[in-house]
Each structure stands twice: as C-alpha cells, then as structure tokens.
C-alpha cells in the first residue's frame, strides 16, 4: 500500500512536471512561430499585393516557407476580391506546387486536411479545381462538403449551380453555406435555377424560387407568379417572398390572392411581399389580416401597410378594434 502511494505521488508529480514543461515549451514555440510568421509575411506581402493588383513583378528566389506564406497571403486577399483580381490570382496559382499540393490533399485520408484543401482551393481561384471540388461535394464528411460548396461559390462557374442547389435541397451541406454559395455564383446560376423551378421535386422548386428572388429579374416574374399557385405550400411561400424581393408589380394580383391561402406562412410571405411591391389596392385586405390572422402573419400585414400606405395605417390604428399589431406598426412609424 505504501509503495502504491509512493508510486502515485511520483506519477502525479511527473505528470505535473510534464504539463508544466509542455506549457512552457508550447508558449515559447508559439511565440517564436508567431514572430517568424510576422517576419515572413512582411517580406512576401508586397509581392502578394503587386500580383493581385496586376503589376509586373518579378519574384525573387523564395524558400519553400516563403512560397507557402505567399500562397497564404494571396489566398487571404482573394477572400475579399472579385473580378479581374481573382482572375490574376487564379492564373498565378495554376500549375504551382501549392495548387498541386491542395489538389492532392483533397484526395487524402485525413478529413481536416481534405476540408482545408477544399477551402483553400476556393481562395486560389483556379477554375481548373471545379471538377475536383464537385467530387468533394459528395465527400463522406460534412466539413469537406461544406468547404467544397463554399469554394465552388467563390469560383463562380455555372456548372456548379445545379449540384449546389441539390446539396442545398438534400441538406448534405448546411443551408446557410449552400445558399450563399449559389448567390456567389451570381447570374451564372440563373439558367440552372430556372430549370429547377420546374423540377418534379417540390423542395427543389422551393429553393429555386427563393434563389430566383435574390438572383433573378423581371424575366422571372411569370415563372414565380405561376409558382404562387403551386400545390406545395413551401413553394408558394418561397415564390411569394421572391416576388416581393424582386418588387414585381406584375405579381401583385397573385400575391393579394395568396393572402387568402389556407397555410399561414404563405399568407405571411404574401403580406410581406405586398409591402415590398407597394401594392395600395391590397391595403384593405392587409388591414383585415393585421387584425385577424395568426401572430406572425398579422405582424407582417401591419408592417406591410406601414410601408405602402402610412396614413391608412394611422387611421386604422386609431380605431377601437385595431389590435396590437396595428398599434405596434403605427407607433414604430412615429419613432
């Protein structure tokens, strides 16, 4: 027993010493590393900026470490850039060992390395990486899929639109990321979205309708007006929201009709959209909805009236049966 006590004391003392040494070593190593990175970054930063700005620059002989830091610095700059500057970044990276290393890592065994590679390929802006990233969209790990979706959005190639909407629909990539990635594609995604708006799967139709509200134009009005009559409530709501976002005057009639939808969140989206469209003819129905509908739909209706016809709102709020939503909207109008 005494021996056991002695061994325990020694073991714990040794463990304490290990942690203490680890703490000291870690701290000094990290401090050194931080300083070295700062120095390296300072050295390569002018080259990174010159490359991004399209200045003719002759790179000096760089060490492996410096090349890696240059790649990292350019990658970081790339996150805030679009257009020509990104094109220059893509041309710089194409064929470099840094690009080849990330492509190889994307096929590697370690999950975190695959995910990091997928992420960095988006910053490298090489369109050649698209096929590999599309493959990574089907990776067994969620982090890798998410990073690939993000990078495909950054690369802005139209062939990524349909796969991105599909991962958005089947939920294999977080919705916020997949949605953002499709938006990042911009008009390049429109053709695919217009096709998907007529897909058999109601979830695909719903996502396509919502995205058209962000990326589409007046040419999409007819498609979206038709979608407001879709059998799926999700599609009807998303289409109503999209018409509002596009401020489609042509959609006002369909939206007013949607105020009578049996599903409350369709009514909610229709009311909100009518506020964005500015449809004065819908004000009496919006006022009724603000008095009688479920909480969120009523609030949306009251706020829509505040946008479309402030005077009508103030009059209605003064009536005895106005209800809390008209009171709130009227008070906010006065703030």
């Amino acid at each position: 027993m005494l021996e056991l006590l002695g061994i325990s004391v020694l073991a714990l003392a040794a463990l304490s010493a290990v942690f203490l040494v680890a703490l000291v070593l870690k701290r000094s190593r990290l401090a050194r590393e931080e300083q070295r990175r700062e120095t390296l970054e300072e050295r390569v930063r002018p080259f990174a900026l010159a490359l991004v700005d399209g200045e003719a620059v002759e790179l000096p002989e760089l060490s492996t470490e410096e090349r890696a830091m240059l790649a990292e610095a350019i990658g970081r700059l790339s996150r805030n850039l679009t257009g020509d500057a990104r094109g220059r970044i893509g041309r710089y990276f194409a064929g470099t060992s840094a690009y080849a290393a990330e492509i190889a890592a994307l096929r590697g065994r370690r999950v975190w390395r695959r995910a990091t590679a997928a992420y960095r390929l988006g910053d490298m802006a090489c369109p050649e990486a698209v096929p590999e990233l599309l493959r990574a969209l089907e990776d067994r790990d969620a982090d890798v899929r998410a990073a690939a979706a993000r990078s495909l959005g950054r690369l802005g190639r139209p062939e990524a639109a349909e796969p991105l909407v599909r991962v958005l629909v089947d939920g294999t990539v977080p919705r916020a990321l997949a949605f953002r990635a499709v938006l990042d594609l911009g008009p390049a995604a429109l053709r695919a979205l217009r096709g998907l708006a007529r897909a058999d799967d109601p979830d695909e139709r719903a996502e396509a309708a919502e995205l058209l509200g962000w990326l589409g134009d007046a040419a999409d009005d007819a498609l979206l007006i038709e979608a407001v009559g879709d059998p799926s409530a999700e599609v009807r709501a998303k289409a109503a929201g999209a018409l509002g976002r596009l401020a489609s005057a042509d959609g006002a009639e369909a939206l007013t009709e949607a105020l009578g939808d049996r599903i409350y969140f369709v009514r909610l989206q229709a009311a909100r959209a009518l506020g964005q469209v500015g449809e004065r003819a819908a004000v009496p129905r919006l006022l009724r909805q603000a008095r009688e509908d479920r909480f969120e739909a009523a609030r949306a209706a009251a706020q829509a009236v505040a946008r479309v016809d402030p005077a009508a709102l103030l009059d209605a709020a003064a009536e005895p049966d106005a209800g809390p939503h008209l009171h709130e909207a009227a008070d906010l109008l006065r703030v």
């Binding site: 027993m1 005494l2 006590l5 002695g6 325990s8 004391v9 714990l12 003392a13 463990l15 304490s16 942690f19 203490l20 680890a22 703490l23 870690k26 701290r27 990290l30 996150r79 975190w112 995910a115 990091t116 997928a118 992420y119 969620a142 982090d143 998410a146 990073a147 993000r150 959005g153 939920g171 977080p174 919705r175 916020a176 990321l177 949605f179 953002r180 990635a181 938006l183 962000w214 909480f295 009523a298 609030r299 209800g323 809390p324 939503h325 009171h327 709130e328 008070d331 906010l332 703030v335």
Partner: protein, 477 residues
C-alpha cells in the same frame, strides 16, 4: 462508541472512494477535451464564418438580457451586443423592476421611446409596465416589467422576441464581436438536430474594456478572482467539452446560451421555481426530447467568448456558490426520475448520476471527509505516512488538473498574452488546493442548509463595473 467509530470509518472510506472516482472522471474528461479541442482547432482552418455572416438564410437571433439593478454595466453591455457581427439580430433588455437607474441609463444612452409592442403571451410572466424601442438603433428593445426574478424576465424576453432562436445573456456580460456567429455554428451546420448551444464564459476583472469590447486581456488584481479564472478554465475547457462530446451537457450557462425558441416555449419557458433556471431548463429540454425519442444535440462551443465580472469578495462569492448549489439541488430533485433511468440514455445513466453524486453530494464527502480522516489519524488507526501520502496526492491531482486546463488554454486560445499572467496562474494552480477548493466545498455544503430551510432568494450581487478606457466618447449606436 463502536457505532460512531464504524460510521467514521465508513465516511472516511466513502470520501476516499469519492476522491478517487472523481479524479478519475476528471482525468478521462481531460483526455476527451484534448481530443475534442484539437479537432476544433483544426476545423478553424476551414471555418466559413464569413460566408455564414453573408448568408441571408443564417437564422436570425433575439438576444435576451434580463437586467435587475445593472446600472453600472448595462450601457456597455448593450453597446457590445448591438455591435455583434451577425447578419440579423435584435437585443431585448428586460428591466426586471430594477430599483436603481438601469432604465434611465438606457433611456439616456439609446433615446428610448415607448411603443405598444404586440407581445406573444406564450409563457405567463409578471405584469409588463411598458415596452420601448431605441430611436438610435431600431434593433434595441427594452421591456420594463414588475420584478419577478431572472427566469420571469427571460420568459418576458421570450414572449417579446421575433426570431426563431434566443440568446440568453447576463446583463453584466460582454460578448466578443464574433461570439454570436460562432455559437450559432452548430445550428447552422445541423439546424434540425441542434437545439441549444453555449459558449465559454471568461472573467473580465482586470481586463481593459473599450466601448464594450475587451481590448487587453489581463489577470485580475484580486486573488479571489484569479482563482476563479483557473476554475472557469477547468469547468469549461474540460467539463463542458467532455459532457458535450457525450451529448449530455446539463449546463448551458445562463450567462451565454442559445436556444431554439419554439422548444423553449414548448417546455413552458424558464422555471421561476428554482434559482438554477439555466440548468433546470437544459435538463427539461433533454427530458422533453428524450421522452419523445427525438434526435437532438445540445452543444458546447469552446471559442465564442462571453466576458463576465466575477465576485471579488468572500461574501459575494459565497452567496453565488450557495445559490448555484441550491439551483443544482432543486433541479436534480425536480428531475429525480431521470437518475439511473436507462430510458434517458447517457443523461440518466451518466450525467445526472454524476451531478448527483459528485457535484451535489460532493461537498458532504469533502467537508466531512477531511475531519474524519484527520480524526482517524489522531486515534492512531491511520498512519501518518498514509495521511501525508493522501494529502500530497490530493494536492498533486488538483495541480495536475489545473495545469492540464491551463496548458489546454495555452494550446488552443491563448487569451493571456503576458507571460507573467501565465506564471501567476501556474502559481495559483498550486495555491488553490490549499484552502480555496476546501472553502468552495464548505460554501456548497452550507447550501444544504439553505435547501432545508427552503430559501428562495437570489442574494445581492453588487457590480463594480468594468475597467474602461475613459477618454473617448461612446460611438453612435
């Protein structure tokens, strides 16, 4: 006499068994935490926070701030909350019948005007006296109500909130700019699965604060607060990471917790029947979801930071710990059916029994164990060598666990940049085992008396306010 002697031997044996088991659990959790945090750190290389921030479908959040006599810190806190980097959020301060100038300070700083706000009365609360919106920032709402306690104030906030997720935060807390974006990450990744998340709470005493932001992380000058810094490292970086890994997190800190609003409403909101409304809500959510066989996760996220003011006097710390322990006891009693019940999976078979035996009854073993073992030694039945051996082991285990947490912090987040701060923390890793831990156990032991007396009060917690950069004026909200 024999009976008493036998009882003492039993208590001593139980105390030793408790001590061995508890530390074994801690060591296992330390190993789990190292692994989890290493994975978390690697994931930072591909975290798409900018994309989540820029996504129009990132879920909007209502930030709820229950405030009772928070005059010294409330304006700074609200500034920091309004400045959070997040695509869409509102801040709802619930003034819970404060007796000081909390409401007036808010009115002056944010130009509040009364609004007849439509409130969903999903959860009953004490009477609402008025609702205000800020003319300077329309995302700030203030609900003024009759005092009903923290849980009641949070419920009023839930009723007033517009968005599908609520973030409950203490009025004396300061969130870092990206904290909300980070704490919402698991929900963005799995919105159908993750129902609640919590971030890390760190101690702001000693730090320099500028316009609601921590700009310089320093250790407090108060020794009592430094001891709490270490304690928080252990609790969050080891305890919560471990339980979260097992999906059996019982505590999402009331100072910084994000919840799916519809679920909070479904279970009836925060309970005013306990002073541990945060732990009670989380246990109730676990029960609600497990009884319905629903897949879910409640997660701890280690990098979003909430800075808070720690008590610096013995009296305040004692009251805080007695209150926390009372809250734990009330929660465990209310959900006693869960303990050891296989129907609740790891919650019933591991988490609740652990909290019952080690956290709730722990102080009994710790407080009674020491005199009994000493008595045993005085009677000559325990050799001095064994006694010394056990005491040294107890000290070393405590030191190992604190150093492990400190190393973990240094390996991962490195908030304390000044090497002298780390050296002080190492010194306190030893010192805390020579009195502080025993004192905490004693205070928690006293909570049994409070429980038996049926004490319900929260106790006073006076605020010093944060150490701020004085010269510059506040920016427009």
């Amino acid at each position: 006499m024999t009976v008493l002697y036998d009882l003492a031997v039993v208590i001593a044996a139980l105390s030793l068994a408790y001590f061995a088991a508890l530390n074994l659990v801690y060591l296992v959790f330390t190993a789990i935490a190292w692994r989890s945090l290493a994975r978390h750190l690697r994931a930072r290389g591909h975290a798409a926070d900018d994309e989540v921030f820029a996504s129009p479908v990132t879920p909007p959040v209502s930030v709820l701030v229950p405030a009772y006599d928070e005059e010294p810190t409330i304006v700074q806190s609200v500034h920091s909350l309004l400045a959070l980097r997040y695509p869409e959020h509102e801040v709802i301060v619930v003034n819970d019948g404060s007796r000081d100038g909390t409401l007036e300070r808010l009115q002056d700083a944010f130009d509040l005007v009364p609004v007849r706000k439509a409130l969903r009365v999903v959860i009953p609360t004490a009477a609402i006296r008025g609702v205000y919106v800020s003319r300077r920032n329309r995302r700030l709402w203030v609900v003024d109500k009759v005092n009903g306690g923290k849980a009641d104030a949070l419920n009023a906030g839930v009723n007033a909130s517009r968005y599908p997720y609520i973030l409950a935060i203490d009025a004396d807390a300061i969130l870092e700019e990206d904290s909300l974006l980070r704490v919402v990450r698991p929900i963005v990744a799995s919105p159908d699965l993750v129902v609640a998340t919590g971030g890390i709470v760190r101690i702001a005493n000693g730090c320099r604060i500028d316009h609601g932001r921590v700009v310089d992380v320093r250790l407090p000058t108060s020794r009592l607060a430094i001891l709490q810094v270490l304690e928080y490292f252990r609790a969050f970086l080891i305890g919560r990471v471990g339980w979260s890994h097992m999906n059996a997190l019982l505590i999402v800190s009331g100072a910084f917790g994000l919840f799916r609003r519809s679920l909070v409403e479904a279970v009836g909101g925060y309970s005013s029947e306990t002073v541990g409304e945060d732990i009670e809500l989380v246990v109730r959510l676990h029960r609600h979801l497990r009884e319905r066989d629903e897949a879910y996760r409640i997660e701890f996220v280690p990098d979003p930071v909430c800075w808070t003011e720690a008590p610096e006097s013995m009296g305040q710390l004692s009251r805080q710990r007695r209150r926390w322990h009372r809250g734990l006891g009330e929660t465990l009693w209310r959900h006693r059916r869960v303990a050891g019940n296989g129907r609740y999976g790891v919650l019933g078979l591991a988490a609740v029994p652990y909290f019952l035996i080690f956290e709730f009854f722990g102080p009994i073993f710790e407080v009674l164990g020491i005199p009994v073992v000493l008595g045993w030694w005085l009677l000559g039945d325990l050799s001095g060598v064994y006694l010394a051996g056990f005491l040294v082991i107890a000290l070393l285990v405590g030191v190992v666990l604190s150093l492990a947490a400190l190393t973990l912090e240094e390996h991962s987040f490195r908030r304390h940049r000044d090497g002298r701060d780390i050296a002080r923390l190492v010194r306190f890793s030893v010192l805390e085992n020579l009195g502080y831990r025993q004192l905490l156990s004693f205070w928690r032991f006293l909570a049994f008396y409070d429980l038996l007396r049926g004490r319900r009060a929260w106790g006073e917690m006076s605020r010093k306010g944060f150490r701020t950069v004085p010269e510059a004026p506040l920016p427009p909200a």
